[in-house]
């Protein structure tokens, strides 16, 4: 009996993760062939992948050639800062999935969070650890409040959250990037010089660098990892988390079982928005130190892919964010060989496509399994 439980506990996570791992491997292979086709050379493609690995996981050849530790710490810094952002937006999407909502609005929630962090970090004068906490909390509140608009529209008026969150994204872009950041909150330079973004935040609001000045590895990765574990605990080990998942699996059944469905949806959406808001804060407080002219890569939308590839499991999200953070940080180095800048995103897009086609995987895999899979591997978001 215990033997069987033990085996199940060890094997199940692997079985759950297998479709994602295979999807990513297939995506890497297909992208490799695409580079071979576009560059006309197997050698260039192979070197491009090697460069991507060195750029994402640490430049081992350079280290062996006698370089100092920055050959490792600098790539780690870039990977970690991207991983932190992808983890947070991925968690945001995964939490909304848990109650059956498809939150496409992580981008907008991240934007209002980033702006709050930039304003609180620039205008308030507080001592160091407190200032960081205030900025993170302010960003989380702003993101949560922004997500609650979509939740309220859904619950009170029946507006589909996919539509409302997409529209709220555009409202955030217009309000924040196209007005506040170029208008009332724009930093001023002397004379006829131009400067982009808002004022810089104070040093007391910056996330500390953990590996010295040459590496941009900052405390944001710790925030993201801690939140991933916390979200996992909340979903898997608390009553609220259990009830939220029940709502996601079947709101009518949950209501019949006495679960306050509306309250759980509001809570989950608030948490989802707060996580996206913290992502914006980490971008501002970790590397940019201000709200830039345009807010980074579309990490909010990447969060959808990261969440699905991570099987909507908080720790799966952390793992897939770490992988794609590394691939995208290192992927820049493929350009040194003339490979087009878009290939790292292509890998992510392909992996998502293959995960979405998981039925194919499961059919293939079930032939090799002695016993049928205990349950579906992915909780399908219900709208």
């Amino acid at each position: 009996m215990t033997d069987v439980t033990l085996r199940a506990r060890l094997v199940r996570p692997f079985q759950t993760a297998l479709p994602s791992v295979l999807s990513v491997a297939l995506a890497l292979a297909v992208c490799f062939l695409a580079i071979v086709a576009s560059q006309g050379s197997l050698w260039v493609a192979a070197r491009a992948y090697a460069e991507m690995a060195w750029g994402g996981f640490g430049d081992l050849p350079k280290l062996f050639a006698g370089a100092d530790a920055s050959a490792l710490t600098r790539p780690w810094g870039e990977t970690a800062s991207k991983t932190a952002l992808l983890t947070l937006t991925g968690l945001s999407v995964a939490v909304a999935f848990s109650v059956g909502l498809f939150n496409i609005g992580a981008q907008g929630q991240m934007m209002v969070g980033a702006l709050s962090a930039a304003v609180l970090g620039g205008k308030l004068a507080l001592p160091w650890p407190l200032h960081v906490a205030v900025c993170l909390a302010g960003a989380a509140l702003a993101g949560a409040a922004y997500a609650e608009i979509a939740a309220a529209l859904k619950l009170e008026r029946g507006v589909h959250e996919v539509i409302s969150t997409i529209m709220l994204n555009w409202i955030a872009v217009s309000l924040v990037e196209n007005w506040l950041v170029v208008g009332p909150l724009r930093a001023q330079a002397s004379g006829d010089n131009s400067i982009s973004g808002t004022d810089e935040i104070l040093a007391s609001a910056q996330l500390p660098r953990l590996l010295g000045e040459t590496s941009r590895l900052h405390a944001g990765i710790l925030v993201a990892a801690a939140l991933a574990v916390a979200v996992w605990y909340w979903l898997a080990r608390t009553r609220y988390g259990f009830e939220s998942r029940a709502v996601g699996l079947g709101p009518e059944a949950a209501r019949a079982a006495g679960i306050p469905v509306a309250a759980r949806v509001y809570q989950a959406m608030a948490l989802s928005g707060a996580l996206a808001g913290v992502a914006g804060a980490v971008l501002v407080m970790g590397t940019e130190h201000k709200f830039p002219a345009t807010l980074g890569a579309p990490y909010g939308f990447d969060g959808i892919a990261i969440s699905l590839i991570g099987q909507n499991h908080p720790l799966g999200v952390l793992a897939s964010a770490a992988l794609f953070g590394a691939l995208r940080a290192g992927g820049t180095r493929m350009q040194l060989l003339g490979v087009h800048k878009s290939f790292p995103e292509l890998i992510q897009g392909l992996a998502l496509l293959f995960v979405a086609a998981r039925l194919v995987w499961e059919t293939l895999l079930s032939r090799f399994r002695r016993e049928p899979a205990a349950s579906a591997t992915v909780e399908v978001p219900r709208a």
Binding site: A17, S20, V21, V24, A25, S38, Q39, G40, S41, W43, V44, A46, R47, Y49, A50, M52, A53, W54, F57, P61, R74, S81, N178, V182, R186, A187, Q188, A189, S190, G191, D192, N193, S194, I195, S196, E200, E213, L283, T287, E288, P292, A293, T294, L295, G296, A297, A319, S320, A322, L323, A326, A329, T332, R333, Q335, L336, L337, G338, V339, K341
Partner: protein, 388 residues
């Protein structure tokens, strides 16, 4: 999952290093290790923007390196290709623009937060000089230059600024700004001569950089057509990446009677050009003036001229100074005198073209000699007295 993939990636990397000797098709960057490497980081506009970034890339790749980027790699360019990219003024410059035998290394940025690691990467790859294209790279260039005092940098369009926005000087950073107002002054003078009804201006974001274009343009119109300067219509789209907004503003201006419009609005400006092109197709007698690069090819027949900003020349000369060992830090401002800005060839015919061009040349001479100071902001414009 991560460790597995890392292992796979490492293993494949190692396996391929092992078979390196058998392969003959090593990329050009590896084949020419003796050449000095010059790096360039584009802003998010990237390669193929038809204006700013492409101009910088032309200076580095076609002029300084004598190479063309095609199909994911460099091939040597012919002397004719280089010659075809030079205007008459540039072709007659001394010393002449010839390839300098450097190897270009270009990284395009996908997001604001990538500027710093991208610059750092090129320095790490051995670039002796690294070009940051655009004022949005200012923070990143400053940070990387401070960490790498031995590497040299060229920053386009902005001095290095401290946290409070005051210019500072770093010994290993040359910064180049352009006196856009002087080039805008000349296109303004031309607009004043060509316009029969009303002159218009479309800016992108309402920032000091674009205000320089407007001030110079207004002064230029006032110099040749004071009546048109009174009625001049200026509009800002608020962005640099919204073609649709530019088109709308362009149509709006033409509906208000504008027949010559100057755009300094990035991609929004492409929309303005499109609007004018369509109006011409309907038989209206309207013109548009392009910006940054010669944009005549976008709408032949509608683009009167372009206010070119010679980012290419600034990049080329920095590479030449690097080779000569004279590249020092500090700010450089380039106007008409230094060929930093200028007019693209006026290809269209209009009544009185020869007299108009003679008049422009006379104005140009006066700006070059320093006799005429072109205003660069609203305050200077208010004090500016047009002398016909």
């Amino acid at each position: 999952m991560i460790r597995r993939l890392a292992t796979v990636a490492l293993a494949s990397g190692l396996a391929l290093t092992a078979c390196k000797k058998k392969d003959e098709t090593a990329p050009p960057a590896l084949a020419m290790p003796a050449k000095r490497v010059v790096g360039l980081v584009t802003d998010v506009g990237g390669r193929g923007d038809q204006s700013f970034n492409d101009s910088a890339l032309r200076g580095l790749e076609l002029w300084a390196a004598g190479a063309r980027f095609e199909g994911g790699g460099y091939r040597p360019s012919s002397a004719d290709e280089l010659k075809a990219s030079l205007t008459p003024e540039l072709a007659s410059r001394q010393p002449p623009i010839v390839p300098l035998g450097v190897a270009p290394l270009v990284v395009q940025s996908k997001a604001q937060e990538d500027y710093e690691p991208n610059l750092e990467l090129l320095v790490e790859q051995g670039a002796e000089l690294t070009v940051g294209v655009g004022f949005m790279l200012e923070n990143a260039v400053e940070a990387v230059a401070r960490r790498n005092p031995k590497a040299k940098f060229l920053l386009i369009d902005s001095p290095v600024l401290d946290a409070s926005g005051k210019p500072i000087c770093l010994p290993n950073v040359r910064t180049v700004v352009f006196r856009e107002e002087e080039g805008s002054f000349l296109v303004g003078a031309l607009a004043g001569l060509v316009s029969k009804r009303r002159v218009g201006f479309v800016g992108g974001m309402e920032i000091p950089l674009i205000k320089k274009f407007e001030a110079g343009f207004r002064a230029g119109v006032a110099s040749t057509n004071p009546a048109a300067a009174e009625k001049l219509l200026a509009t800002y789209t608020g962005s640099f990446d919204n073609v649709a907004a530019g088109k709308q503003v362009g149509q709006d201006l033409m509906a208000k009677g504008v027949d010559v419009v100057f755009q300094a609005a990035g991609s929004d400006g492409l929309g303005v050009i499109q609007a004018v092109k369509e109006a011409r197709a309907e038989g209206k007698d309207v013109y548009v003036i392009g910006v940054d690069s010669d944009q005549a090819h976008l709408a032949p027949g509608a683009v009167l001229t372009s206010m070119v900003k010679r980012v290419d020349l600034a990049v080329y000369e920095a590479v030449r100074d690097l080779k000569a060992g004279t590249l020092a830090g500090g700010d450089v401002a380039r106007g008409l005198k230094e060929d930093g800005v200028g007019l693209a060839v006026v290809r269209l015919d209009f009544p009185g073209k020869l007299e108009a061009l003679a008049k422009l040349e006379a104005l140009r001479q006066r700006v070059v000699s320093g006799e005429l100071h072109v205003p660069s902001n609203a305050a200077e414009l208010a004090a500016f007295k047009a002398q016909p």
